[in-house]
């Protein structure tokens, strides 16, 4: 089957919660689709797959920017509901007890403290200076550019890099 890539001609509407309804330009419709990122880490706004109730892909969005604005707003909102990756704005405190790191951070979603079990695997620095953090409960956090953090945060972070 040919993969359907959505364009600005196609319409996306909210179905319920984070689910959407897609109406193609040729009139075909798909209900209850769940938008999911194919590259949640490296390309969060590109290559969005839309899965039906049974988890079968019905169509794909190459780039949310290619959609008409109301559709892309709905997709972004749905993705924001599904993917909760708070952005760490400031590191308040880092402590290390018995090999488990505890970070206290200010994020765009509020203050949170969490544990990092394996500092080698759970803190990943990318070449573009962003850092992805995974906590002991498998929640994800991101620092989009560690060079932009304040001095104290950078200092606390430094020992882990």
């Amino acid at each position: 089957m040919e993969r359907i890539y959505l364009t600005s001609e196609d319409r996306i509407e909210l179905f319920e919660n984070n689910l959407v309804t897609v109406t193609l330009a040729d009139g075909r419709t798909f209900e209850e689709l769940e938008p999911r990122r194919l590259f949640p880490v490296n390309m969060p706004e590109k290559y969005i797959t839309l899965l039906d109730k049974d988890g079968v892909e019905q169509c794909v969005i190459r780039d949310t920017g290619e959609l008409n604005s109301s559709s892309s707003d709905i997709i972004r909102k749905s993705l924001n509901d599904y993917y909760l990756v708070p952005e760490i704005l400031r590191i308040v405190n880092v402590s290390d007890k018995y090999g488990i790191l505890r970070w206290e951070v200010d994020t765009d979603r509020g203050r949170k403290s969490f544990d990092i079990r394996n500092r080698n695997h759970d803190i990943r620095v990318s070449a573009d200076c962003s850092i992805r953090v995974r906590d002991s409960d498998d929640n994800r956090y991101v620092i989009s550019d560690y060079r932009m953090l304040d001095t104290k945060s950078r200092k606390l972070l430094n020992t882990e890099l």
């Binding site: 993917y83 990756v85 488990i100 979603r109 509020g110 929640n139 020992t159």
Partner: protein, 769 residues
């Protein structure tokens, strides 16, 4: 105001207390509360979900209205895990699906259970029973210690910090106890060497004062006596003193040799016993433990955590004692010789303590960074070398070289940069200590020049020696807490194994003996984490000697059926009977000895082919093993190997092909002559010719034995006289192949699909010919 709620995962947020009171006033009782961490917008907030016997109330932060839903109004309550967050939602009477709670993964397991709770209560489940299940879930979901807030090794584990230290020591002391006499000897020897070490500075001081110069009285009466005996001849005196020094050194280092030998013996024996015990325990742990703990982590605990712990135990019993006595000894001698100078030479000590602390805190992260870069170099190695075939076939040599060089380059940069600091620190610490001697030189020296009472050049030499000996004990005690932390972490991981419940063995269990092989599943239900039923009310009977094919998609629960029958997991509901006995009542080893299990990916030990086959029946005769190999169609290829039955199989059985390994594992099953045979996708990964050989082997083997075969390829099941189709944890079809074909259900569909592909393949093959 009593707002006491027993069942909760955290303190109920203050904003939710009015809701609690409102519920109480309305005459309902709050059964349990789940305190959440996200509001519905996805921002961090203290939220709560309050459950009563009929309703659930939400508290979504103080700025929002609390919602309330009656269980009877809700349909299809589901917990949905998304990415970094999850939601609880339910269908409401107006037909819409409402999300009423949002949370991070930290409390997801609780919410999974809560969704089931509502579903069960709604469908008339027993409220007390369901609440009790929730109570257990709460207990198991504790990922941090409720007392000290420390993250636990795994949810529900006991907190090592808050446990009685006495108990821990008692647990570990078991391993030290046999070595106690040896350790006592070591301590005595240690004290002896310690005191021996204190002698040379005194002698050098005497030499300076009374051999090189001829002042009259020394501060040691003992040396004066010697001096008198030798008639005050400085030459003779020097020789005597040197002999004295030699004697002390011989004694000191001689005892040192014996001591370190004994220490090693005691330490090795301790870690030997500990390691044996951990390994033994690991072998008997239930599969659930291995689901939770990665094999790498288990290997680490046996291999390195035991050594860390041993090191620490020895440090405490030995080095601490030595250093303590050395410190006391030095201070006592120094005080006896000159109190004022003692106090002065102690001045650098606080600096040393602070410095070593600073040093270890600062330097460790640096080493850690170097190490991290280094391990990324190593991982590039271990990534690419085993994949060399892939690299070559896609001509990726240059790319991998580039990647390696880049990593290595990063290592070099950081190592050079940090190496500077890393090497500066120990030097600085030594510098501070040396500076301490300047104080002694300065103050003591000026006293010697002015000829003050009780000061001499010898005294200063002695003091400087003692002061430098002070450093080791001080830095030892300053860093003791670090090694204590490391040891505690290791202890936690080791006790996690030592205290884990082994596979349950009912008392009065009976030997399985030779079984007929009748298998009955009666209303069996099973789930790994309560959130999803892997098996749901499964009932079937298999008569002795039947060959039963189990069919179903991946994740349908086929393998779980086998896992339960093998007793890899015990926590299922309902009953499994073999020959009319509950399998839980059988003695486990005798029961498993009656089941031959052939896996999809047969694991081989790194041992000879002979031993790999004979693993299933220790002490099997050579001819039995050859016979088993013959039945399994393996004898032929084994005989063709240069080393035949002595062929050494590498890790995971390299040296033989996948199909050959499979036949070896069938030979294993043949050799043990079981009453029940299980083939778990035994021919899934081999070509058709090998499949024929294996099928042939299986056909010979299953004669008269109850046989369960899990298979994707239905051709494997041509010998089956009954097919069970599993879907979503339920048995949807059960009958002879002919019956199922006639019923035109799922099995019929599968056969259709597969015969279509088979036909298509046939046509393609013919075309090629």
């Amino acid at each position: 105001m009593s707002t006491e709620i027993i069942l909760k995962n955290k303190e109920v947020p203050e904003g939710a207390l009015p809701i609690v009171n409102r519920i109480k006033k309305s005459g309902e009782e709050v059964l349990f509360v789940i305190v959440g961490d996200l509001n519905l917008d996805g921002n961090y907030d203290s939220t709560a979900l309050l459950f009563t016997s009929k309703r659930v109330y939400t508290f979504d932060g103080k700025d929002r209205e609390s919602m309330c839903f009656a269980y009877s109004d809700m349909t299809d309550v589901t917990s949905k895990r998304m990415y970094g967050n999850a939601t609880l939602s339910a269908g409401l009477p107006d037909g819409a699906r409402k999300i009423f709670f949002r949370y991070t993964y930290g409390i997801a397991s609780l919410c999974d259970a809560a969704a089931l709770f509502i579903e069960h209560v709604r469908n008339g489940g027993d409220l007390n029973e369901e609440t009790a299940i929730m109570a257990v879930t709460f207990e198991k979901a504790l990922s941090v210690c409720p007392k000290c807030g420390r993250t636990l090794l795994h949810p529900g584990a006991e907190c090592i910090m808050c446990r009685s230290k006495k108990k821990i020591i008692k647990k570990l002391f078991v391993y030290i106890r046999p070595q106690v006499p040896l350790l006592c000897v070591c301590v005595v020897l240690s004290i002896m060497t310690t005191f021996m070490a204190l002698v040379p500075p005194a002698i050098t001081g005497f030499i300076v004062d009374h051999v090189f110069t001829t002042s009259n009285k020394s501060s040691y009466r003992f040396f004066d006596r010697i001096s008198e005996l030798l008639g005050g001849d400085p030459g003779k005196l020097l020789v005597t003193m040197i002999l004295c020094l030699l004697f002390t050194y011989v004694l000191q280092y001689g005892i040192g040799i014996i001591r370190s030998h004994l220490m090693r013996k005691a330490g090795d024996k301790t870690v030997y016993a500990l390691r044996n015990d951990i390994y033994r325990k690991v072998q008997y742990l239930p599969m659930r433990f291995f689901d939770r703990t990665s094999t790498g982590s288990v290997i680490n605990r046996v291999a390195s955590d035991s050594a860390t712990l041993q090191n620490f135990m020895l440090r405490i019993t030995q080095e601490a004692v030595v250093h303590f006595f050395q410190m006391i000894g030095i201070i006592v001698i120094m005080l006896a010789m000159n109190p004022l100078l003692t106090l002065l030479s102690l001045i650098p000590i606080p600096f040393i303590v602070v410095f070593t602390r600073f040093f270890s805190i600062k330097i460790r992260p640096l080493y850690h960074r170097i190490w991290k870069r280094w391990s990324s170099v190593v991982s590039t190695l271990s990534d690419t070398i085993p994949c060399i075939k892939v690299v070559k076939s896609f001509t990726g040599e240059q790319r991998t070289v580039g990647r390696f060089e880049k990593k290595n380059d990063e290592w070099l940069k950081i190592d050079l940069r940090l190496g500077k600091i890393a090497s500066a620190f120990p030097q600085i610490v030594s510098f501070v200590i040396t500076c301490g001697s300047l104080i002694i030189w300065g103050f003591g020296g000026s006293k010697v020049i002015t000829g003050a009472e009780g000061y001499s050049a010898g005294l200063i030499v002695t003091f400087i020696s003692y002061a430098s000996m002070f450093y080791n004990p001080v830095s030892f005690f300053a860093n003791l807490s670090d090694s204590f932390q490391g040891a505690l972490a290791s202890t936690e991981k080791i006790l996690d194994i030592l205290e884990a419940e082994p596979e349950t063995q009912e008392e009065n269990s009976v030997d399985a003996g030779k079984l007929n092989g009748k298998i009955e599943f009666l209303h069996v239900g099973f789930s790994f984490d309560r959130s999803k039923k892997v098996l749901d009310d499964v009932t079937f009977t298999i008569e002795p000697g039947e060959v039963v094919g189990i069919v179903g998609t991946t994740g349908s629960g086929k393998s779980t059926l086998i896992n339960l029958l093998m007793r890899f997991y015990d926590g299922y509901s309902g009953e499994i009977l073999v020959d009319g006995h509950n399998i839980k009542n059988f003695n486990l080893p005798t029961y498993r000895a009656q089941i031959g299990y052939v896996q999809q990916d047969p694991m081989m030990f790194s041992d000879t082919i002979f031993n790999n086959i004979a693993f299933s029946k220790p002490g099997a005769s050579v001819e039995d093993v050859i016979h088993a190999a013959d039945v399994a169609n393996a004898h032929g290829f084994i005989a063709r190997q240069p080393d035949a039955y002595d062929t050494w199989l590498g890790e995971r059985g390299t040296g033989v092909s996948g199909g050959e390994k499979q036949r070896l594992s069938i030979a294993r099953a043949v050799l043990m002559d079981p009453s029940i045979l299980i083939f778990d996708e035994a021919t899934a990964a081999v070509d058709s010719e090998t499949e024929r050989l294996i099928q042939d082997a299986i056909d010979k083997l299953i004669e008269g034995k109850t046989t369960l075969m899990i298979a994707h390829r239905l051709s494997t099941l041509r010998r089956a006289n009954r097919i069970i189709v599993v879907d979503n944890g339920k048995i949807i079809e059960n009958g002879s192949p002919a019956e199922l074909m006639a019923a035109k259900g799922k099995y019929y569909k599968l056969v259709q699909i597969q015969s279509m592909t088979a036909e298509a393949e046939k046509i393609r093959e013919e075309e090629r010919l």
